[in-house]
Homo-oligomer: 484 residues x 2
């Protein structure tokens, strides 16, 4: 008896009817129900038997012929191709549940703070160290994007320089020379997808499996995971009110197995400590003597409220040991994914070579638009404005914490940054954070920034993303749930 | 005698005067010309001696105090801090030429075709397999971007899902189910920065240093380099008019050291061969038996001119061995950097975990805008329109090659793709390509797609980016310079 497809056509399915018929045939070939040389029903009879228009069946057969499953000859109609292999592939429906090969699993060992809030009533977001995204000049950005895409679509939509838009590199290099004292040119700078890609590329270019990397604890877990993906072993190094403990760094470097030092000297993440000048010089000297690169993550240079921002290590580096990583995630917005690495030309060239095969290039339209907003003064204006706003919010937040938490909180107001790092002795901060989240206030407990999520008596209270007039209510709720 | 700075102030420099003064002080501290405890000149006298306003000197001293280089006390004026280290850091100007630490160099071993033309008169670009960027709906894209950035700036500019915009994953999953027969959901798909990032992440998730990866020769070098960055050893495998030589694959798999198979079965890159159905089934079966993943790069599914596009291997995979990589680089434009990987859920989850620490996330605004253009029919319309245009250009290009190169060229017109792969026996194609470039016609010699850039009698002649009415002139020039 002639083959008839085990067919339940579903006209509501995404897959067109003719493809559903074609799949039914290939499924049966693979199940062995159809064998090479078997004749398929004529298009009329099949159309009748499954209740579709004949053209649908013809389309299915054309598809099958195009894929080589069947051959149609004048005399003998449509047959399953003779040159198909006898042994069928494992019969079963297509699936995305089965994994037919081994993986090389990577699992983050450190919790990453989730800036995305849980469900609940309009939450107060005091987490993520986020800037005020409602005040970003997004209209100017959208206009610049539209203008550029109209003026020069073919160039912006084509392949470009893996080092990033030359216009943006020029704007950034000028800014880094003028505001941060770096000896930086368009060619000693690579634009990356946020500082994260800069850190990732550096890990790939600097680290071999088994290398030890000095990191700060408390510190920035996403950087740690980038180092771990390169196979590095992390060496947590303490920080205090003067920043990274450089004596501990010295001892580790003596061990000779350290391949890099990762630090956030300006506003230490998350404690906001500013590294002291003596430590800066000692650190530079240690790196020079041991020929170990310092990865300086200056993720938040601009929002410094007491005097001028401290110049980066990279500005006083004379030995070519500092690699400077920056970002516009705080200046503008993390969603733009614009960061950079500035450093010795040879290193930067190497990062560009590797980056080309990671994602080929950045977003040329966004990069060009941001360059315009820097050059026409929009971004500098935004920074000046936000610095005033954030300085004020820092004050208000500090007052509110002292008012509502009183003697329970120990708080040193740092000279910059978008978050405070209060200490609450005898408080289960993890539990407090969980209770606060249920009350609509999201903040990160200190444990999130520690190794192996060790309990901490610190909390990270951000104020960048909350309006001044909502701060008191947020802190009032925090106080309410302080004790279970 | 009191210290005076070795100062050549440059009011035209990027670095503000007060910072120039501050740097002069720190330089001299590091040179040992200034020692801990040394008194600095009074602001008035220094201002007079270097010819600046006193406030400039005061700003410099404030900066130095903020950085901890100096301390200012009522009685004794401004002194170099006592707690600075005695041993100065190597004295010399800041530089980006010096590299003070070892690198882990990566050098591509395969030439990568440069889509960017050399200098010269308005060139005819027959290279890069580029689509027609002048016809991309960039105005619609710009409008969608602007609308989205106005409607929802805070969300689009914030942190988001490393797997990509949910809206775009939904649009792509629907497209892959309906047009390509994949069993694909929003959760078995990760949006990547072009197919390149998909290939890179797969290499990281699948390969260990020393693993062997089967690749096609001729083939796609940027994928090879992504595998090499993961430490893989490439095993070039021949292709013919039926695509990848599956018997050769079987022999290699028997050796047991092969960790992945990379193939472009639909329009083999760069030969455009369509893999035959028997080979498809054999390849799937080999992968299933040896538990080796097939990385199916379907970089150009839509532009198929003879019948329907052949369904991907992923559509008939029953064993969970196919990983499907796709891109919008041909459908829309490479500059959008939108690609994806669809595959077993466990693999996709692993890619998302790793991607988070590579660049955190894609461009949410662009991803959302493209999703809108897919859902509102703009992209499907564009594809239908361009398919007609490209089919016609393919015809015209083939005719022109035959007309101007006559018997010198052997040409099989493939069933799809944006380029032809003519063969010219006895022609030094590398030399021909170089001469053509000087005549303003850019195309890639076959050697670019071979291992170790072996000479080839093939050329890759793209027609996606050149208007129909310019094709004849381009080929006329090619013919002129065919023989040195």
């Amino acid at each position: 008896m002639p083959w008839t497809p085990a067919l339940r056509l579903d006209s509501s399915a995404d897959l067109p009817l003719f493809l559903q018929i074609a799949r039914a045939v290939t499924d049966d070939v693979q199940r062995g129900r159809l064998r090479p040389g078997d004749r398929l029903p004529g298009s009329r009879s099949l159309a009748a038997s499954v209740g579709v228009h004949r053209n649908t069946v013809l389309a299915a057969y054309d598809e099958l012929a195009a894929e080589g499953w069947v051959t149609t000859t004048a005399g003998s109609g449509t047959r399953v191709s003779f040159d198909l292999p006898e042994r069928p592939v494992t019969p079963s429906a297509p699936t995305t549940d089965r994994l037919g090969f081994p993986l090389r699993p990577f699992s983050p060992t450190h919790p990453v703070e989730e800036p995305v809030p849980g469900p609940g009533p309009a939450p107060f977001l005091l987490n993520g160290g986020l800037p005020d995204l409602a005040r970003v000049p997004s209209a100017e950005l959208a206009r610049a994007l539209r203008r550029l895409l109209r003026r020069d679509p073919a160039r912006l939509l084509a392949y470009g320089d893996p080092a990033g838009s030359r216009a943006l590199r020029a704007s950034l290099a000028t800014m880094l020379r003028a505001r941060r004292g770096l000896a930086c040119t368009v060619d000693s700078l690579v634009v990356t997808r946020g500082s994260q890609m800069g850190l990732y590329l550096l890990a790939q270019a600097l680290l071999r499996p088994g290398d030890r990397v000095l990191v700060e604890e408390f510190g920035y877990a996403p950087a740690w995971e980038a180092f771990r993906q390169a196979g590095a072993e992390l060496v947590p190094t303490p920080v205090d009110r003067d920043g990274l403990d450089v004596d501990a760094v010295g001892r580790e470097l003596e061990s000779g197995r350290c391949a890099a030092i990762y630090t956030t000297p300006h506003h230490q993440f998350p404690t906001m400590a500013v590294m002291s000048a003596p430590r800066r010089l000692r650190l530079l000297d240690l790196a020079r003597v041991h020929r170990v690169p310092i990865i300086e993550d200056d993720y938040d240079n601009e929002f410094h409220y007491v005097g001028e921002p401290v110049l980066p290590l990279a500005a006083v580096d004379r030995a070519g040991v500092v690699v400077y990583v920056g970002t516009l995630s705080k200046v503008l917005a993390p969603g733009l994914r614009i960061g950079w690495v500035a450093g010795p030309r040879e290193l930067v060239d190497q990062l560009v070579v590797r980056r080309r095969f990671v994602d080929r290039q950045g977003d040329q339209a966004v990069e060009s638009a941001v360059a315009e907003l820097i050059d026409d003064g929009t971004v500098p204006r935004h920074v000046r404005r936000m610095r005033r706003i954030y300085a004020r919010r820092q004050e208000v937040m500090a007052e509110a914490l002292r008012r509502h938490l009183g003697a329970r909180v120990q708080l040193e107001v740092p000279s910059g940054g978008l978050a405070l790092w209060p200490r609450l002795d005898g408080v289960d901060v993890d539990g407090w954070s969980a209770r606060a989240r249920r009350r609509g206030v999201v903040f990160a407990p200190g444990s999130v920034f520690s190794f192996g999520r060790r309990p901490s008596s610190h909390a990270r209270i951000g104020f960048g993303g909350i309006d001044e007039d909502r701060i008191d209510e947020a802190v009032r709720r925090l106080a309410e749930v302080l004790d279970g």
